[in-house]
Symmetry: C2
Subunit: 349 residues, 2 copies
């Protein structure tokens, strides 16, 4: 599995639009302790509020990997970035990229990295030889975030829960399945780039057997009722064999993101679609919470919606960015340990 | 989409084990009119009962494509086959292969084909630029074969139904989704080699809008309750938006093929898993028949099982190889035409 050396120098370059620097902001917000500095080309570039350093200064301060923090339109690396990436390699840094275009396909970078023995991480492109899933139960506990749609908080929810569990003294690890999550976690598998037959195998590899009281908190992808991305969702669901599910929803979303001709399912429609499939992989699977993305709602409406959803579902309802995750961590702290015992029953059976 | 020129010369070479010549037998059994000859290296090779010809003779008789009819252990082309493939290219033939190893990766073959302007079809490897699925309804009718497991008759069932419908004067086309089906149909997309995000898009491309009374009869893959192959199954289900489903089952199978630790679901467990997902893509989706692979049963037990399943499900139950497909073609011939009208309702909604 991909493992990216920390700490990081975040490369902003001359990107002036914060929306196209989401990767850098994600790292700053979720892996602050791993980000020692930023590199900008110009005064009007996005400012992460980190110390500005050259690649040489960053290397001297201990940085191990230069991370391309921008996602330009089209996902292609601007040509004038090549010299600074070469300088980073010469200074002793690896390079990590979540762009569509591969660092390994840029000869000036690939050849220099090979000569110097540096590692290039194209985190969106999987080069692992993945097994097919086997469906065998394994020890440890797993939580998977699932959604009514894409792009509504599955990654943030999983990261917040893993962090909240650790703060409570529980054994928990965030498991990343997409490029931004992988950069934040320093490892993972971009499951949406995996060939269909190997998706559940990738998910099994990502959350292997562990201590009976250890939780893998797995970043979900896509949505089970999504016309395009559901296969990835199902592979993650089967391979993760989650003991606990958290459904992520945006209460204001009426149509699927980028699919305006498709209605977004309700919370209960989505739960009804997920649960029988989750139980095919793990008969003990159950929902433990609902994560609502209320960022576009005023405070009063947000709390009203959270309360109403809690009444309707009987589950812990929260917005990780507004209310925190304490209510769902309470549930997980008390999670029945029986399922986690060695030799638990075969799941798809 | 892949289109392979017909008719074919089937290459058997020195393969003596009929089980490793399944591709050639499949073509002979299901595309007999497209197979004008066989080529063998030795007297003890498998005999398809077709005229024996050299590549030059076959080209003179009108053959357009030499098809590698064997699937050796490991899926790699034997090195001593290279000269005959080069001779086929020089004689004017394209070459088609369903092997894991690519013809395009064998320089002596790839370079000669490029020089001569011949086409190499590595049908297991998709080179199309596929779209993501969009979930929009389209005109025409679609039938998808689905299964309780892999390798129990989904391809044969789909081919038999398409053939039976054509014989009845209905508009129907078999749509192939795996390498053997693609060679038989002369085109298709090997969906199990597609990256997760594009599986439903591949299925949409494979069964595009058509006449309101036209049926695409689509070869299913995997199984919805299969720990490894379900993602491909779900992508095919969503992208195909089937109006009609046929469930394929092997009544004697207790454990999944190659997954002896996983119980094979019952017919009703599988139907209950498929139907809500099929209806997410097409609210009118319904099962129209059950195809039982009774090949390992004596005649009396086979008919008893078919009758019992028909009583239990109320659906047309048949074994395409033993009883034919007339009962399910009867249902399809009377299929309500309302759904096929222009402007049918948006399906995932």
């Amino acid at each position: 599995m991909l493992t990216i050396k920390k700490p990081f120098l975040l490369l902003i370059g001359d990107m002036t639009n914060p929306r196209n620097a989401k990767t850098a902001f994600g790292l700053r917000d979720w892996a602050r302790e791993d980000c020692i500095s930023q590199l900008v080309f110009s005064e009007d570039a996005v400012d992460l509020g980190l110390p500005r350093m050259t690649v040489e200064q960053a290397a001297q301060e201990g940085a191990k990997t230069a991370v391309i923090g921008i996602a330009p339109q089209g996902g292609v690396l601007p040509a004038h970035w090549v010299p600074v990436l070469q300088a980073a390699l010469r200074a002793g840094l690896d390079i990590a990229s979540g762009l569509h275009s591969r660092l390994k396909d840029i000869p000036e970078i690939a050849e220099l990295a090979a000569t110097l023995g540096r590692t290039l991480h194209d985190v969106r492109h999987n080069t692992l030889s993945l097994p097919v899933g086997n469906g065998k139960p394994r020890s440890g506990l797993r939580l998977l975030t699932v959604g009514t749609d894409c792009a509504l908080g599955k990654k943030y929810t999983a990261m917040a829960i893993a962090r909240g569990m650790k703060a409570r003294g529980l054994k928990a690890d965030f498991r990343a399945t997409g490029q931004t999550g992988i950069l934040i976690a320093g490892g993972g598998i971009a499951v949406d780039a995996v060939v269909g037959d190997f998706i559940s195998g990738a998910a099994e590899m990502l959350s292997p057997g562990n201590d009976p009281d250890h939780w893998d908190v797995i970043e979900g992808q896509g949505a089970i009722l999504h016309p395009a991305y559901a296969p990835v969702t199902l592979g993650l669901l089967y391979g993760s064999q989650p003991d606990a599910l958290v459904l992520c929803d945006d209460p204001l979303r009426e149509r699927l993101n980028d699919f305006p001709h498709v209605r977004c399912p309700t919370v209960s429609e989505a739960m009804n679609a997920y649960l029988p499939l989750a139980r095919a992989a793990n008969p003990a699977a159950r929902f433990v919470g609902i994560s609502l993305n209320t960022s576009a709602m005023p405070e009063s409406e947000a709390f009203e919606t959270l309360l109403r959803t809690e009444e309707e579902t009987g589950l812990a309802c929260f917005d990780p960015m507004r209310t925190g995750v304490e209510t769902v961590v309470d549930v997980l702290a008390d999670f029945p340990r029986a399922d986690a015992a060695e030799g638990k029953e075969l799941k798809i059976q």
